[in-house]
Symmetry: C2
């Protein structure tokens, strides 16, 4: 049994005309001899409207009930799409998260997939040629509905491909693939033919909305090659795959940025063991992701602690820190939302030096001040003033010559 997984996002299923285009894609899969598992998101805007509805009922809706409510979005999509299948004479059916089942942990609104039993799915694929599976949703061990967090349908798609050992996993989106940087910011941005899982994870963690970060982690873990491509064109997109030698020969793959940042500084805390644990332990308990932690060398037994969080999380962080501040005797908690992260990403950095130096020089030439710096094996990130974001991205894209196909690929042709 040859199996193809196709995942379509909200804009690809937003109305009946869009769904008919999805149907064409599915037909192509069938014509090529595949059984097709088509994973659908909620129609564009639907999830947000359900969340708005919930907030009419409750200022802070119960997470488990919010999941039960939000799951309706994808349920509607797969039911409606399966009506098209029936009318087209295609043997298909809708499959909800609990019907697969896609078993997750019980962390409502941010659940993680724990198990997908492929036996039941394969039995369904014996009977049906197309399964329209609701993305984003699963159920916990007790059968309660869970959701996987924003963009979770990508993860559903990749996880189903992994569980079924699918021959093809296509993630359809409203862009042509993965670019060297945001084409809206830099007109010279170039579509990448291939990108490694690790690079894609770095792009995703910077807020590039092509793929949800966990879906890429999943793809990496189970080595699922993912084809990111456009619903609205037949051009090949970008293959997200295991890195190989050719990829490592390329110094930098792309430039990412993230404006959804807030810098938080805890002033004059005692420079002694346990302080960082108190601060970040409390924040982690609230499941808030902290990035770019910097602690200066202390003076007089005191030090400052600075880090960044997503802007949407700051209200919660402020409350948490108000409590912690008293416990640890910090002088003040300050914050600044007028900041952005810019990153240079590439697996080639592992074997090359000089990327960071080139980045710093480029920003200095543009008179852009770096407030914080952090590095990982395949990424260098700088926090800058938000207003310089576009300038920084364009300058770095030029500096690393990303508008040209990398030389290594010229050689291989």
């Amino acid at each position: 049994m040859k199996i193809m997984v196709q995942k379509f996002g909200g804009t690809s299923v937003k109305d009946v005309d869009c769904m008919r285009q999805v149907l064409c894609r599915v037909r192509k899969g069938l014509d090529a001899g595949f059984k097709v598992v088509v994973v659908l998101s909620a129609r564009a805007g639907r999830t947000n409207r359900l969340i708005e509805l919930a907030h009419v009922w409750s200022p802070e809706p119960d997470c488990a009930e919010l999941d039960a409510l939000m799951a309706c979005g994808e349920q509607e999509s797969v039911a409606l799409f399966s009506m098209l299948l029936a009318d087209a004479g295609i043997k298909g059916r809708s499959v909800l998260g609990f019907q697969v089942p896609i078993v997750t942990n019980s962390v409502h609104t941010k659940a993680r997939i724990e198990e997908i039993d492929d036996v039941k799915l394969r039995a369904m694929l014996e009977e049906f040629d197309v399964l329209a599976v609701a993305g984003f949703q699963g159920c916990d061990e007790t059968g309660r509905i869970t959701t996987l967090g924003r963009g979770g349908s990508d993860t559903s798609g990749v996880a189903l491909a992994a569980a079924l050992g699918a021959d093809v996993c296509e993630i359809y989106t409203d862009v042509e693939g993965v670019y060297t940087t945001d084409p809206n910011v830099c007109s010279k941005a170039r579509k990448l033919d291939r990108i490694s899982y690790d690079e894609m994870i770095e792009f995703a963690s910077m807020g590039a909305k092509v793929l949800q970060i966990r879906s890429v982690e999943f793809a990496k873990k189970f080595n699922v090659p993912v084809h990111v491509r456009s619903t609205f064109s037949d051009n090949p997109g970008t293959m997200v795959i295991q890195e190989d030698d050719a990829m490592e020969a390329v110094l930098v793959s792309g430039i990412a940025y993230d404006k959804n940042q807030c810098r938080v500084t805890v002033r004059r805390v005692h420079d002694r063991p346990g302080i960082a644990a108190a601060v970040f332990g409390a924040i982690a308990e609230a499941r808030i992701i902290v990035d770019m932690i910097v602690q200066n060398t202390g003076q007089d037994g005191f030090t400052d602690m600075t880090f960044t969080v997503g802007r949407g999380d700051f209200d919660k962080v402020e409350k948490i820190l108000a409590k912690v501040q008293q416990e640890i005797g910090a002088e003040a908690v300050q914050h600044d939302t007028n900041v952005a992260k810019v990153s240079v990403i590439g697996v080639g950095m592992r074997n090359h030096s000089g990327v960071a130096a080139k980045m710093f020089a480029t920003l200095r030439n543009e008179n852009i001040n770096m407030m914080m710096i952090s590095t990982s094996e395949i990424k260098v990130t700088c926090l800058i003033e938000e207003k310089y974001t576009e300038l920084a991205v364009q300058a770095l894209h030029d500096a690393f010559g990303l508008d040209n196909q990398p030389k290594i690929q010229d050689f291989s042709e």
Copy 2:
């Protein structure tokens, strides 16, 4: 464990303010020491909007997928209501059809409940004080979502009460209870304190929308006393119960009518065995309910066959009969939608004669022509011209003295 089942219809949960009133009802149950199973319909109009949505996708939506779509209506209701429970500090949760599970057959959009396992429900009631169960929906043996047909939430409520052996089963609605006839048609209509299951079934089969007919059949089968009452007042409503001697002493309980009728006549069919089977067999196969069948005594080996169906079913019936007409060599198929049924209902008829005669005399006095007549053990029905419906109902209500409390109840006081 004392258990109360409360069922609320679409108008009772149509917005957050209405749901807060439902919450008050639930609280009263809790305060009285009950665990409360609250069964909710979709918010008023929601199911219709989902059906309209389906018809944008398909002229005749696949029934299984329509069920998956419609089930969202109740899913939304129970999730939203459970958010109120959480905010009120009440230990509660939403429970969907498949989570109970309410197991039905696989006749999508008109499924019948086959089994409700009370073990899992009781375990949930140990943990939670309130379960907000989605009405109208269940799942078949394979786990696919089914729905129980219009008004199916009543059946969900009664079935849950039966399965749990609930101490109280309350069906909340937007009227004060069951009336001797439609108060919109007859100002003298009187609220009944009690009505037998059989009478209620006859009322429901005539389109009185207080209770879905199958919910009453269920209540009768499992002898669940059902309290029909208003969401918006504290007055006692109507108890629907097993009939007793006092009830049988009352000749007539009420007058029902149904304008949603279409009279169909198959002209000049051969008067021989097998013809009726051919006609009604084909209609039954399409799961269309036929009522008031009349076949005149034949002449010259030919006869006419007349029956009524719901107006919404006539298009289907016409198609079916076009085929059958050829097979059996009937001369023509005619229909008339300008008709209505009026019925006199009462368990007392079993032991009294003269009800039919009095009904016919009353209609004759008003110069209302009876096109067809049918009788059952506890009902006499006449088909009349639609325009006389209100007049007929008022005249019959007067003739049987229904505006007065029945004498038998005066004696018992």
